[in-house]
C-alpha cells in the first residue's frame, strides 16, 4: 500500500460502518420491517444508505421540529429510489402538470364565513 501513487485520504463509509452502532440500528431496522438483502455487497450498500438517511432524518427533525422524524420503512432507500417507487404524481414541468388550473378558471367560490 505504501507504494501507491494515490493514497485514500477520505473515509470509506461502507467499510467503516460494519461493526458500528449504526449497523446495530440497521439490524434492528431490518428485523422490524422484515428486510433482507441477497448479497453481502447489497447489505453493505443498504447500510450506507441507511446511515445517510439517519442523518437526513436528523436534518428533517431540525427543519420540522413540530413533527417526529426518524427511521421508517423507507430508511434503506435513496431519495431517488423512494420517489420512483413510492410516489407517482407526474411532474412534467416545473410546476407539474395538473397544478391548479382552477385559479385561472371561473370556479365558483364557496361561502366560508360563519
Amino acid at each position: 500500500h505504501e507504494d501507491l501513487a494515490i493514497r485514500q485520504v477520505t473515509e470509506d463509509h461502507r467499510k467503516t460502518l460494519v461493526g458500528t452502532h449504526t449497523e446495530s440500528r440497521f439490524r434492528a431496522f431490518m428485523s422490524e420491517y422484515g428486510k433482507s438483502y441477497e448479497t453481502r455487497e447489497e447489505y453493505v450498500h443498504r447500510l450506507g444508505v441507511f446511515a445517510r438517511n439517519v442523518l437526513r432524518a436528523a436534518e428533517h427533525q431540525m427543519m420540522d421540529p413540530t413533527a417526529v422524524h426518524g427511521v421508517t420503512q423507507f430508511s434503506d432507500l435513496t431519495e431517488e429510489e423512494f420517489e420512483r417507487m413510492f410516489t407517482g404524481v407526474l411532474a412534467a414541468d416545473e410546476g407539474g402538470v395538473g397544478v391548479q388550473e382552477a385559479a385561472a378558471e371561473d370556479v365558483e367560490m364557496a361561502e366560508i364565513d360563519g
Binding site: 437526513r56 428533517h60 420540522d64 423512494f82 420512483r84 410516489t87 407526474l90 410546476g95 402538470v97
Partner: protein, 231 residues
C-alpha cells in the same frame, strides 16, 4: 366552516391501503376521492379498485399530451377522472383487486360500482379547500413528499419545503384547529391526510400537515369529484 372536521368520523373513508413499490399514488388518491364522493351522495362506503386504473388508464393531460397515466410509472388524478368518466365507472376492489404491478386490463363494464358525473380543481385558497372538503367529501391532493420519507408522527410544519415540486398524490380527509407547535409556541391548524403506504407508516397511515401556508404545495393540486347516482 366547522373548526375541526374529519370525514373518517362520518364513515366516508376506507381503511389505509398500501401501494407497494409502485408509483401508483395517483390511483389511490383518485379512488379515495371517488369513494368519499360516493359516500356523500349515497351514504354507502365502497372500496374501489386502484388496479383498474393501473392496468387500464392511459389518459393524458389536456395541456401536456406527454403527461399520460402510466400504471406504476406515475399519473395524474385529473387524468384518471377523465378515464373513469369515459370508461363508464370503477369496479370495486373485490372484483378487481390490487396487485401492485401493471397487468393486462381486465375491466368488466358489467361490474361497475360507481360512475363519475364530473370533477373540478379547487382554488389555491386553503379556506376554499376546507369549504370544498366539507361540501364534496375527501379531496385528492398532490404535494411534495420530501419530508414524508422520514415522518413518524406529529404535525409536520417544515420551515422550508418546495411548493413547486409536487410528486405525491394523497387524500385530504379533514382538518384540525389545534395541533401543538413548539416552534410557533401555540396551537396551529393542520390538514389530516390519508396516505397509501400502509398503516405502519406515519400516524396509522395518516400524515398531519400544517394548514394555511401552502406548505409543500398542498394547496396547488386539489380536486373534487361528484358521482352519478342511479335512480
Amino acid at each position: 366552516l366547522p373548526e375541526d372536521f374529519d370525514w373518517r368520523e362520518k364513515g366516508a373513508v376506507t381503511d389505509v391501503k398500501m401501494q407497494g413499490a409502485c408509483g401508483s399514488c395517483w390511483a389511490f388518491s383518485t379512488t379515495g376521492a371517488i369513494e368519499g364522493a360516493n359516500f356523500v351522495s349515497t351514504g354507502k362506503l365502497l372500496n374501489l379498485s386502484e388496479q383498474q386504473l393501473v392496468d387500464c388508464d392511459h389518459a393524458c393531460d389536456t395541456k401536456d399530451k406527454k403527461a399520460c397515466d402510466d400504471g406504476c410509472g406515475g399519473g395524474l388524478m385529473t387524468n384518471a377522472y377523465k378515464y373513469v368518466m369515459e370508461a363508464g365507472g370503477l369496479e370495486e376492489e373485490s372484483s378487481y383487486p390490487y396487485t401492485g404491478k401493471r397487468g393486462r386490463c381486465r375491466f368488466d363494464a358489467g361490474k361497475v360500482a360507481v360512475r363519475l358525473a364530473n370533477f373540478t380543481t379547487i382554488p389555491l385558497d386553503e379556506n376554499q379547500i376546507a369549504a370544498n372538503l366539507v361540501r364534496h367529501g375527501p379531496l385528492a391532493v398532490g404535494l411534495n413528499a420530501v419530508y414524508m420519507q422520514t415522518y413518524i408522527g406529529g404535525v409536520s410544519c417544515p420551515l422550508i419545503c418546495s411548493k413547486r415540486r409536487l410528486n405525491h398524490g394523497v387524500l385530504l380527509v379533514g382538518y384540525g384547529s389545534k395541533g401543538f407547535s413548539i416552534l410557533r409556541l401555540g396551537n396551529r391548524p393542520y390538514w389530516i391526510i390519508k396516505n397509501s403506504w400502509g398503516k405502519t407508516w406515519g400516524e396509522n397511515g395518516y400524515y398531519k400537515l400544517c394548514r394555511g401556508h401552502g406548505i409543500c404545495g398542498v394547496n396547488a393540486m386539489v380536486s373534487a369529484v361528484v358521482t352519478q347516482v342511479s335512480s
